[in-house]
């Protein structure tokens, strides 16, 4: 579903992505792991077209993202820090996104998270008054709202309270069962254990390995993802 081929991106003298190639298929739930500044978010933003890569190409569903923009209607994106127009209310933002996506009737929409996070009761609040956690909830609700085939979640549970992050995890598992491709970055490896099927490990903008979780555990001789990754990092 996503094919990245030799993608490179430099920010000035800093190399964020260095000949990065990866292949992700439908039905997989992939954890994007790596130290801070290893290019995880840059890769995600490149898929979304928010960052334009210097060389290489990415295709999503067979469309080259350079020439096509409609592929984004199949993507639900939850950013690391959700930035929204400050003087709009939550209700207005939700309405605007539905308007832009052109999906108005509620049977096409997946409002599970909106209901479970009880967003309907705070629709009148302005975005600038929201706490970081509430923003995360809005981002999550928006990512799942349009029933996309591809979900990209950048540190989804950072800043969420335990109850909400549990709700979100349940939702991710539910969507995974529907055969969607889910891409997650997170530093909290323990919570990825029961979610992901594959691991992509990045370092300094390069791909270190792309393995299934069983393979990784077998190779490192560990039973937990957190320990397996710790061992990988130590061996580097």
């Amino acid at each position: 579903m996503i094919i990245a081929n030799n993608v490179s991106k430099n920010f000035g003298s800093l190399t964020a992505l260095n000949n990065f190639s990866v292949n992700c298929n439908k039905g997989e739930c992939i954890a994007l792991i790596g130290p801070n500044g290893s290019g995880k978010t840059t890769f995600i933003k490149t898929i979304l077209g928010m960052v334009v890569c210097d060389s290489g190409f990415i295709t999503v569903n067979g469309f080259n993202i350079k020439n096509d923009w409609q592929y984004r209607s199949n993507i639900g994106y939850m950013p690391q820090t959700g930035r929204y127009p400050e003087n709009m209310t939550i209700g207005q933002v939700l309405e605007m996104m539905q308007d832009i996506r052109g999906k108005k009737n509620s049977n096409e929409l997946d409002e599970d998270l909106i209901n479970q996070f009880e967003i309907k009761s705070i629709l009148h609040k302005r975005m600038r008054t929201l706490s970081g956690g509430t923003r995360q909830k809005i981002s999550a609700a928006l990512a799942f709202l349009f029933n996309p085939d591809l979900l990209i979640l950048d540190e989804p549970t950072a800043g969420l309270d335990p109850l909400s992050s549990e709700i979100l995890k349940e939702k991710i598992i539910e969507e995974k069962k529907k055969g969607k491709l889910i891409l997650i970055t997170s530093h909290i490896l323990s919570e990825l254990d029961d979610l992901v099927t594959q691991v992509i490990y990045m370092q300094d903008g390069c791909l270190c390995f792309h393995k299934t979780i069983e393979q990784l555990k077998e190779d490192t001789g560990q039973t937990k993802l957190a320990k397996a990754i710790a061992q990988v990092m130590l061996n580097k």
Partner: protein, 255 residues
Amino acid sequence: MKKVIKYVIIDILRNKIMLAYTAFLLVLSFSIFSLEDNSAKGLLGLLNIILIIVPLVSIVFSTIYVYNSSEFIELLVSQPLKRKTIWMSLFTGLTSSMVLAFIVGVGIPILIYQSDITGMMMMVIGILLSVIFVAIAMLAAVKTRDKAKGIGIAVLLWLYFSLLFDGFVLFLVFQFSDYPVEKLMVAVSMLNPLDLARIMILLKMDISALMGYTGAVFKDFFGTGMGLTLSFSVLVCWTIIPIWFSIRKFKTKDL
């Protein structure tokens, strides 16, 4: 595209500054017209104010607005929308609110006091100037990442077009006063939309005699239908070129 424009315009209209700008122009125009007993004189007074205030407000407000909507732009870029659509919507939203403010603030008084061809010309030129300076502002805003720097550049550009350029032209004229530079002056005036606008209106008012021999050359050129068409096309170019460059830059900008 219509949907995005709608949200941009709603957002701008919610901004009190636009209302204040309209009210300010309205009060200014009415007071100038009622101060002068001859409304043609009033128009001349209004011209000088339009040439200063309209570009300043257009360029500064637009630059700040583009920077302040960085969240909005970021949100839209990750949605199924073309980057060009997003940028053009922002441009259309900004220009339509600027033009609306100008039409209400200056257009209505002109229609009441001086609704002849000169008045109409002034309205058209005021509208074009609003659009041109929004386009220049968007180019300045897309080129620089830093907000303070971007606004600084916008103000400097305004200063350049309204003051420094004239100083530069005067310097040239004095340096080369021994040569026949009048024809060259016509060409040089094309390099500044504000100068072009000023000359076009002054000539329409039939006070070119005040400008001496240069005025006569200007009259020869701008007075003809051909010259008028050319100068309007130059003003249109002043919108298209900055906005074209800004789209090109925005398409490859990292957010």
